[in-house]
Subunit: 319 residues, 2 copies
C-alpha cells in the first residue's frame, strides 16, 4: 500500500492506494496556507496517520508516501525550493514528513505526478515514454520514461512551460520572455484576446462579455472559436501554433511515444486537439517521419493522489 | 569485442573495440558516396569482416556492430530514413549489414554516438544524464541517460539543432524558421557576420578578409572577438545567447547533469564556454537553482567509432 498526497493551494488530499493503483480511501482538509509550513505539514501527517491505521492498511501496510506540490523540490535533500502558491521557500518538507510518519517520503511537482498517473492508469498506459502538458493558468509538465518521472538532476526538469518557443513582449513569471507559458496558457490567450478584441468589432465576444473585458475567459474564447468566430479562432490558432512548437521542441530532445493534454484548457477537447495536430504537422522538422501521438488526459480529480502513490512505488522499487 | 563504424561523407572508419572501450584496431576507406548505397555498404562489410577475423578478435569474438550515420534511421526497421550527405533515402542499412556480417547491427546518428562516447569514456564519464551538442555547420546532439542514447520512438530525438529558440528570418534546412541551428552553427554566425560587417567599418575583420567576404569563417570571428573586436564579439554574444536558450530548453525537459560542447566551433574553447555560461545564467527560469555543468568535449577523432561500439554494447545488454 502507498500513500499519495495532493497538496494544492486550496485543499490537501491524502489517499491510500494499493499496488494496482486503486484508490482505497481518501481524506481531505482545506490547506489553510496562511497558517504556514508547520501547520500545513502537521495536517498532512495527521491525515496520513489516520489512513495508515485504517482497516485496509492492516493486511497490506503502507510502504511509502509520495507528495505532489505546486512547485519544485531538490531531489537530493527533499527541500522544497519554491512553492509560490503556498508562500513556501526552502522548507524541509521531506525530513519533517519522514520524521512524523516514519516512512520514506518522495516529493515531485503536481503536474508531473498527474502525468505519472496518466502514464500508469490513464491514456498513456502501456506506452514507453510520454509527456503530459497541463494547460491552465500556467503550463506544467510531466516527462515519463520507463515508469520514472524525469525531474532531473536539480528537480527542474519536466518544466516544459519554460521552454522558449518564440519572441514575445510578454514577460513570464520567471522573468524571461518567450516561454511556452506566455503563449499557451489560459492567462496568455485571455491577455491576447483582451488586447486585440477592440480591433475586431465583428467578434461575437463583444456580445458575450457585455462590454466588460474582465468577463473574457478561456472557455468563452474556445466556445466562440467553435461557433465560427474569426477573431476567437485567430487567438486559438496562435495558442495552438506555439503549443505545437513546444511539443516539437520536446520531440527534438526525447521524441516520446505520446503527448497528453490536460488542465482546464484541455476541456476544449477534440476541437483543440485537431488544431494542435494541424500545427504540429507544420512544425515537424522531418516531414515524412511521424511524431508522438497527441491525446487528451483521461483521469480527473484523483490524478494527483494516484501520481503521488506511483511516485513512492517507483522510487522504492528503484532503491 | 564490438565493431564501431563511423560513416561520414568523406571516409568510412571501422574499428574493433573491446569491452573496456579500447580501440584495438581500425581500418578506413574513402566513402565514395557517388557510388551509391550498395557499393558503400559492401565496403563497410569488407572492412568489418577483416577486423572480425583479425588475431585480437579470435580470443574475444565480435558480438555486434554499431554504426553512426550522418542522418536518421527508423529504430524499429533499421531503415535509414534520410542521409542528405550521402544522397540516401529509405535504404535498408541494417538488414543489408546484418545479412553481410551475420551479427546484430544497431544504427544511430553520428553526433548522438559521439555523445555516447563522451559519456562512456570522455568528459561525461560517471555522469548519470548528459547532453552533447556538436557545433559545426549544423547543430547535432546526443541525449544520454543511464548509458542509453535517447533517439526516441521514431529516431528523431537528440536532434537538438531543431528546437525553436526564437524568431528568425533565416530558414532552416528543415524548412522552418527559428531552429537553434539557424543561430548557433558556424553557418549561422558566418551569415550574420557577412550580413552586418559593412555596418561596422571599425571591425578588424575587414583587414583580415582583405575585402573578400567569402574569407569569413567561424575561427576568424572567434579570434577577432578574443582580440577585443566589438563587432565580432557581438556576433559571438548572439551565438552564445541562442545556444544558452537551447540549453535551458533542454533543462526544461530533462534537466540533465551535464552539457558538453563539441564540433568545430567548440575549438574556441574556454573563451566560448565562459560566454555561454554567462548567457545560461541569464536564461535560468529558477534563478537560485543550479543547472547542469557546461564542459568541452574531450575525445577527438575516434569518438564516432567508439560511440558505435558502445551503442552495440548497450543495446545487446538491454536485450
Amino acid at each position: 500500500m502507498f500513500i499519495g498526497v495532493d497538496l494544492g493551494g486550496t485543499n490537501i488530499v491524502v489517499g491510500l492506494v494499493n499496488t494496482e493503483g486503486e484508490l482505497m480511501e481518501s481524506l481531505s482538509l482545506p490547506t489553510g496556507r496562511e497558517r504556514g509550513f508547520e501547520a500545513v505539514t502537521q495536517d498532512i501527517i495527521k491525515l496520513a496517520r489516520q489512513l495508515m491505521t485504517s482497516d485496509v492498511a492492516k493486511t497490506d501496510p503502507v510502504q511509502g508516501v509520495g507528495i505532489g506540490i505546486p512547485g519544485i523540490a531538490d531531489p537530493e535533500t527533499g527541500v522544497v525550493i519554491s512553492c509560490v502558491n503556498l508562500f513556501w521557500e526552502n522548507v524541509p518538507l521531506r525530513s519533517v514528513l519522514e520524521a512524523g510518519l516514519s516512512l520514506p517520503v518522495f516529493i515531485d511537482n503536481d503536474a508531473t505526478l498527474a502525468g505519472l498517473a496518466e502514464y500508469e492508469l490513464g491514456v498513456m498506459k502501456g506506452v514507453k515514454s510520454g509527456v503530459f502538458l497541463t494547460l491552465g493558468t500556467g503550463v506544467g509538465g510531466g516527462v515519463i520514461m520507463d515508469h520514472q518521472v524525469i525531474s532531473g538532476k536539480h528537480g527542474i526538469g519536466s518544466e516544459v512551460g519554460h521552454m522558449v518557443v518564440g519572441d514575445s513582449d510578454v514577460r513570464c513569471n520567471c522573468g524571461r520572455k518567450g516561454c511556452l507559458e506566455t503563449f499557451a496558457s489560459s492567462t496568455a490567450i485571455i491577455a491576447y484576446a483582451k488586447k486585440h478584441l477592440s480591433d475586431h468589432p465583428e467578434s461575437i465576444l463583444h456580445e458575450k462579455i457585455e462590454g466588460n473585458l474582465d468577463k473574457i475567459d478561456g472557455r468563452l474564447i474556445f466556445d466562440a472559436a467553435k461557433a465560427g468566430d474569426d477573431f476567437a479562432m485567430q487567438a486559438v490558432r496562435r495558442f495552438a501554433h506555439y503549443l505545437a512548437i513546444g511539443i516539437i521542441n520536446i520531440v527534438a530532445v526525447i521524441d516520446p511515444e505520446m503527448f497528453v493534454l490536460g488542465g482546464g484548457i484541455a476541456g476544449a477537447g477534440e476541437f483543440l486537439l485537431e488544431i494542435v495536430k494541424e500545427e504540429m504537422e507544420k512544425e515537424k522538422y522531418f516531414r515524412s517521419v511521424p511524431v508522438g501521438k497527441l491525446c487528451l488526459a483521461k483521469l480527473k480529480n484523483d490524478a494527483g493522489v494516484l501520481g503521488g502513490a506511483f511516485l513512492a512505488k517507483s522510487r522504492l522499487k528503484e532503491q
